[in-house]
Assembly symmetry: D2
Homo-oligomer: 359 residues x 4
């Protein structure tokens, strides 16, 4: 008997569900009309005062059994859904989102496509001398690597640490790269330097400490040079995507994302490589995703398994620091590979020869 | 003209809002009836299969503009609110919650009320000898402290570190405490030892590493001895409350919560004291809240300002490690106060003399 | 001229270096002799009082230019090195360390070797019914999987969540496993249950929340059944190794380590999978290392790339939650694969057929 | 007998200790001479190649019982101590360090001393209109507050969020502040704007996201306007001090440090206020230290206990967000106090009336 009772109550619920659905969609339509009106009049769509008034009105009429907080909660969800409808979904709308742009973005650096076959970006942490860069460049060419990285402007924790050679470093990189047919990736740290940098570098790197330096992001969005954007050291995946959106929304769609480890309590590694971020970024965004294996681990003894894991997770390439003699490097001595270790890494990975290589 | 249009649309919205409210509350009533029926029949209230069927049905009838995911989301919120109504709100229902029990719980340890005026719990990290405990106890009595702490069962990261004197340690604590009219706080780590421990200790401590050792919590819930429960080293505030609920729901309502720092990336302190947890715990729960200043900071040079901050934030007392000669301690040498430092701390805090003291 | 001066000073330094080296080794020899004497007499080797006396004596004689703190620091390093020599190096000495035991440990579970070719452990989060386990088991057998997992004792944050079927759950697992020739992996949470559990399970799982439940570790060390030990949710890699040492040092060398993600600020995943831990654990220890892809990500949409990354990083296998109908599961509904998703994962991974399978 | 043997060995150790001490100090003197020589010749003091050669030489001559790694470790410690002596201790040398400058720095903002008696800085998260700022300013004046804060340049996670009124916002702040005799604190985000900002603001705020925007720090170091520097959201205490050093080393010694919470896994607060950082910063540095109670907690219900805790921990003041109607604020609606809540906070804190107020 009580089962019958249960069934009756359930079919009443089902009826109400459908009525609710109808009303919700009716409400959504009106909200859309309001949104269109507001767009015409240049008004912002989110109106918290009006929302509060509606909530007050609802609470005033609430006779239960839902308590006022539950009513407020449910209607806030409804308001939010309606607003998202007006805005055609904030996430859907992000230019960096795969919902907006389902195909992979391929960033061309010279004739090397980033976002297609896995690539390698390698070079010294800091540019120290032309000889040093030259030595590394030769090995890169031998290994079929097309992109050289090197720091000329170094963001350093202490003002007394080596701050890089500055523009002189960029010039060294350019000369060596041209000599060997390589492309240059180098970090820029001042919005005022972005314009200048485009003369010397093929890819502007924005480092982890500057991931939310929005002025720098905006400046990078106003040039046409590809941008390699590293995840901040305690940035969420979502914040990385928003940072990329700053660049893309200013007009520069050539952005490469880099997972480089996040700060955690673990002490045996410099950072914790967030490998889960790789497939999530690939799924949420159409931009290429690289993994920096030097800054994440901060130790080179596990370079090979980590690089393999990154590629297996779907990364579009690897960044690694290589130095002719890491023990005398002016920065990051412990994490840079020497030339032999780099050659071993390349053998272990067996990256595909890119189409541009076979030309 | 368009303002008029806007106003019209808005009053339509308002109407729909009220209709929605009515339907939602009607739905909630039916859900309550179903809940009562289920209770009678001993059925679980949450029925995911039925939920899925309802969602499928709704999506089948959805004609937009809300997309199917939004419909699913909104109805899940509605289902959840209805379920919570059936369960009379999970959080409200927690026995440790202030919503359930608005008055402060005062845990009586002997004649010392914990949860009223700020108290001090002090003593060595590990019980090493009767002489050691005796030396500390004398100073505690001089300072008006009523509760002595000391570790007999020590959970240590390495199996080769000093593991404590075990039951012999408890006996030493008991003898010394009885000699000086003190009450004993000591950690128990095995559910099988809880019963035995009640013979020797006045407060059973459950340490950070065991905060989610649910068997230990259940065992502690089955005795009448007060329990001092430390927050796990990466536990959320909510998880601490749920851990306390394990104890209280088994019948032991005498629980004292302890914030003792959480694990973060910061290297200059052993842990990061989550001072925000203190007022939040006091607000969410009726249980007393202490702050362990030794394990949080892991350094004693800032003991005084931290203890002051904890009390200012609303803590019901302080826990601190005191050792006659910290540099030779068998554990935690760096963070234990010596007797003079402890005396200085007591002078700095000027804790009120509890009513029991003046008897 | 000053270059010559520099050279002279440098050769003086070189001389002193060699004298220091000689003295340090002479000191080390004497320290070793003292260590032998102490061993004979059953004395503990570390004597903090003596150390303090030596430091006081040194500081008394210090005439600079090193300040007293530097002298203390340098001699503490020397004392520590001497002590480690006496103890033959704490790390070298860990039974779980590869320095102590260079060959891989292969844990035999029935005739399945864990630590050789990559394996798969799969099954429902919670055992809910014999029918449920049976359905999963059939698919496992089809896919060549040898080990079934399922929770009978569930450590749950809230005391009001489903706590598992307990011993009844173990019996279901055993019956189904025997029917299909599978081996059972299941979590035990109470030291008092370990003995009983060996009747039903082939591998005792110790969960993340219990990684530092040292009483449970000790109990697991006293049986012969293999133990699968998960990393705690904020445990360091070193702490995981020490936890394993608790088990191995009690006599049970059959331990399998599991990386299952650590707690960080990132919100788009349940935990952050610490992929770097995999090659580090393989390097530091001889024990097999698995990756739990369900608890780390907490979302199943990235199961395939994550499993691939884990194997590429050197993991000896994967653990994954599989449920015939995840949406109605009594726990962890969002992260369990359904049967089809699991079949797809197996196809994507193409695990080698183990020797035992071809028999 | 063996005790006698032990005593003999120990006195041999004591002799060697003293010889080692003598040699170490002799070595330190020579290292100092080398340092002086290098200073004269403008050479960098740290010479990793020379260090490696010395280590190689030592290992070549090592005959044990210390193994080569231990020898390397011990001598690296010795080299490091010698180098620190040459550099007169890196930390001692930091301009922001209390070792270098033992007296408290008092930053004068108008006639309000920051770093003496506790002060309050309050105002809206974003400047929205002159009316809004005016309303807040009136309440500040009533409450004896001297410094108003307000965001004109807002660093926002999404490019589509309200980015602030820019220079127009600064002008509003200036006009209102002048009207009420207040001083203005406002965030600047672009190095190119620092110069301009000094016309409108009395204190340049550098926000958490820009704590390691070294170009911005350098620019702020080149003006005379006081700088309020917030700790980065995952910055260590040490990194905050180094960031301050960037400013001070460029010539601007008027820096105020702000603890504003760090990013952790805890979900019930926006950030975790690192209260331990307050006494540590006060101890390590001579700069004033404030606590931002709005951004740390991200919830205003615990504003009073948190502000009290901050002052008890030794903070030189509090920063808080106040808005005439937080629910309609364009940013951070949940964490801003309304005017009544702010008045209650001021009553609860009973800040001392600063000397400047009584004039």
């Amino acid at each position: 008997m009580s089962n019958q009772e249960l069934e009756e109550l359930r079919s009443k619920l089902d009826e109400i569900n459908l009525k609710l659905l109808e009303l919700l969609n009716e409400r959504a339509e009106i909200a859309q009309l309001i949104g269109h009106l507001k767009t015409k009049q240049g008004m912002v769509k989110f109106d918290p005062v009006r929302e509060r008034e509606m909530l007050n009105e609802l609470v005033k009429h609430n006779r239960g059994p839902f308590d006022d907080n539950t009513v407020r909660h449910l209607f806030k969800q409804i308001f939010k859904a309606s607003l998202e409808l007006q805005e055609e979904n904030k996430n859907k709308q992000l230019l960096v989102s795969r919902k907006r742009h389902p195909e992979d973005t391929i960033v061309m650096v010279g004739d090397t496509p980033v976002g297609k076959e896995p690539i390698m970006i390698a070079g010294p942490c800091s540019v120290e001398s032309e000889e040093q860069v030259n030595t590394v460049a030769k090995v890169l060419v031998d290994q079929g690597v097309k992109l050289i990285r090197g720091g000329a402007f170094k963001p350093r924790t202490s003002p007394y640490d080596f701050q890089g050679l500055g523009i002189e470093g960029l010039k060294i990189l350019r000369r060596v790269a041209d000599r060997y047919g390589l492309k240059v990736v180098s970090e820029i740290v001042n919005p005022a330097d972005i314009e200048m940098a485009t003369e010397y570098v093929d890819v502007i790197q924005i480092g982890a400490r500057n991931m939310q330096n929005f002025e720098l992001l905006k400046a990078a969005g106003q040039v046409k040079t590809p941008v390699l954007l590293k995840r901040g050291l305690a940035a969420t995946i979502e914040e990385l995507l928003f940072a990329a959106e700053y660049i893309v929304s200013r007009g520069n769609s050539q952005v490469i994302l880099v997972e480089r480890g996040i700060r955690t309590y673990e002490k045996w590694t410099r950072n914790t490589l967030d490998i889960l971020a790789v497939p999530i970024l690939k799924q949420e965004s159409h931009l290429p995703v690289l993994v920096d294996i030097s800054h994440s681990a901060g130790r080179k003894d596990i370079a090979i398994p980590i690089a393999k894991a990154a590629l297996a997770a779907g990364a579009d390439g690897i960044m690694v620091e290589v130095h002719p003699d890491p023990s005398v490097a002016l920065s990051d001595a412990n994490q840079q590979l020497n030339l032999e270790e780099f050659t071993n890494l390349m053998s272990a990975l067996q990256l595909p020869v890119t189409s541009s290589t076979v030309k």
